[in-house]
């Protein structure tokens, strides 16, 4: 069964397309990496799935996943780290689906928060202010919040960029746990070795679909070359593009 279906989707900002005519199907329960060169539209694609931006044309269908059943970790988050809030309180916001804006936090909820903090290895730091955390610890906090969101679809935008190896390894365990629990996980990633080692499925894009399938079949030298060319072609202004065409010819 498909979790997300892209039907000739064009996504972008101010009518400038970052993704063009993409058609693909991400299966339910799959663990998919999205790879591609810089400017390939990877983050835009996640924003499209999340519903933050609406396709300029085409359709994105999320099967049996209403908007709020998506847990999304953006790359450039909007968090004000100087805000006075403790790890525990911050993580508890992942319970929004069940407690909402006004609901009380029950004993059971507190247990869940504590479990999530344990799962990411931050036990003992519950009362620490988020302003006093390192980058890696903050990423663990964000994963704890994702855990509490208990979503059937998890979207991660470069979750391991600028994070130390130990943290990456710990957080990968959580990603695998989501996979084992049957959740659909889609992650934008830059580290190709990490993708080869841990992600069974890969979607390679360069404004357009390059290839989608088993990681070993997708992550080939030819595909990377093709992706780079596709991206360069659409980044260059028309004259430069023509010029290149002549040189190539």
């Amino acid at each position: 069964m498909s979790a997300i279906e892209f039907d000739t989707v064009t996504l972008g900002y101010d009518n400038i397309a970052a993704i063009r005519n993409l058609s693909a199907t991400i299966l339910q329960g799959s663990l998919t990496a999205i790879v591609g060169p810089n400017g390939a539209g990877k983050s835009t694609l996640l924003r499209g799935i999340e519903g933050e931006i609406v396709p300029l044309s085409g359709r994105i269908q999320c099967q049996s996943t209403p908007m709020h059943n998506i847990a999304y970790l953006p790359q450039a988050n909007t968090i004000d780290r100087s805000f006075p809030i403790s790890v525990e309180e911050f993580v508890a916001m992942g319970l929004w689906q069940s407690i909402g804006a006004f609901g009380g936090v029950s004993k059971y909820d507190r247990h869940q928060v504590s479990d999530a903090i344990h799962a990411v290895g931050l036990n003992g730091l519950e009362r620490r202010q988020i302003s006093r955390l390192s980058g890696g610890q903050m990423q663990r906090v964000l994963f704890a919040r994702l855990l509490l969101q208990d979503a059937s679809l998890v979207l991660l935008d470069e979750p391991f960029t600028a994070i130390d190896a130990k943290t990456t390894a710990d957080l990968l365990i959580i990603v695998k746990r989501w996979h084992e629990e049957g959740r659909t996980v889609v992650a934008v990633l830059h580290d190709h070795d990490l993708v080869r080692e841990h992600f069974p499925t890969t979607l390679m894009i360069a404004r357009d679909l390059v290839e989608h399938g088993k990681t070993a079949d997708v992550m080939t030298a030819e595909n990377f070359m093709r992706a780079r060319q596709m991206c360069e072609a659409c980044d260059s202004p028309p004259e430069a593009c023509d010029h290149k065409g002549i040189v190539a010819a």
């Binding site: 933050e52 709020h68 988050n77 004000d80 809030i85 929004w96 804006a101």
Partner: protein, 288 residues
């Protein structure tokens, strides 16, 4: 001696007692709002809104004289109108919120000053700009207390979305549709409290009692509750000191209160235990 200086003014004069009660009532509502303004990095938005309410208050004044109710309703309407227009322009055009808000509050302020200048005397302008905490009547006190109570209730209800909107607005947008409402409801609270404040402190100084104690409190506490409590205590102290200063030295009361708050702020900047000059220089490890 101490009695004469600290207690006698309040014991002997009814207008000083009413001023004290009125300014304390303002603190209870305004200060928590100010703490959130500060945490949302909207301190200057508060300032802009304070100017924006002027024409509304002026129109109220022109229609029914020095009526607290008329000026309050006028001020609230003008403030909400500016907030709404600025919000619409921000969403619909290339302008960012600071630019659209600045444009509207300046237009509003110019209208307000013109209205008062054309139709009143300089005394009236001074009344609106600097307030008259020493002339608060019972109706005004009831109004101030009502606004403070409403503010506390509203903050208690919207506490969670408001805090989340401060710390991670992107996350709030992704989990609920509250984001836009929270922002506007909060601006409405700001307007309401500024209007309450300007009865006593004037439009120019009412934002001072919101921001200055909150900024000082930030340097002593890292938890929101702690910040709010500290800020309220600072604001109370400023009001008492300001009223006494104004009584003994005959400084205008509004400015005297804000100068007192300013003194607390300066002390906090130097000695504050959470990021004051001394603590961040000597007590915490330096980051190179």
């Amino acid at each position: 001696m101490i009695w004469d200086f600290l207690i006698a003014p309040f014991a002997e004069f009814g207008f000083m007692r009413r001023a004290l009660i009125g300014s304390l009532a303002i603190c209870i509502g305004s200060v928590p709002v100010g703490v959130f303004l500060l945490l949302r990095r909207m301190s200057l938005t508060g300032d802009a809104m304070a100017h924006a309410i002027l024409p509304g208050a002026a129109i109220g004044f022109l229609i029914s004289g020095l009526s607290v109710m008329a000026m309050t309703i006028g001020g609230i309407l003008a403030g909400l109108l500016v907030a709404l227009l600025a919000g619409l322009v921000t969403r619909g055009t290339a302008l960012k919120e600071d630019a659209s808000l600045a444009a509207f509050y300046l237009i509003s302020l110019a209208f307000g000053v013109s209205l008062i200048a054309m139709n009143g005397s300089t005394v009236d302008v001074f009344h609106v700009l600097f307030g008259s905490v020493l002339a608060l009547n019972t109706a005004a006190l009831v109004l101030l207390a009502t606004i403070s109570s409403m503010t506390l209730v509203a903050l208690a209800i919207f506490y969670r979305p408001l805090a989340l909107e401060c710390v991670d607005p992107g996350f709030l947008r992704s989990v609920s549709g509250f984001s836009a409402y929270t922002h506007f409801a909060f601006l409405a609270l700001v307007v309401l409290n500024l209007v309450a404040g300007f009865q006593a402190l004037g439009t120019l100084m009412s934002v001072g009692i919101m921001i200055v104690p909150a900024a000082a409190a930030r340097l002593w506490s890292t938890a929101i509750t702690g910040m709010i409590l500290t800020a309220v205590i600072f604001a109370f102290a400023s009001c008492i000191a300001g009223l006494l200063l104004s009584f003994h030295v005959s400084v205008p009361t509004g400015p005297a209160i804000i100068i007192s708050a300013g003194a607390i702020y300066v002390v906090s900047v130097v000695f504050g235990s959470e990021g004051g000059l001394i603590s961040s220089r000597f007590l915490q490890p330096q980051q190179s």
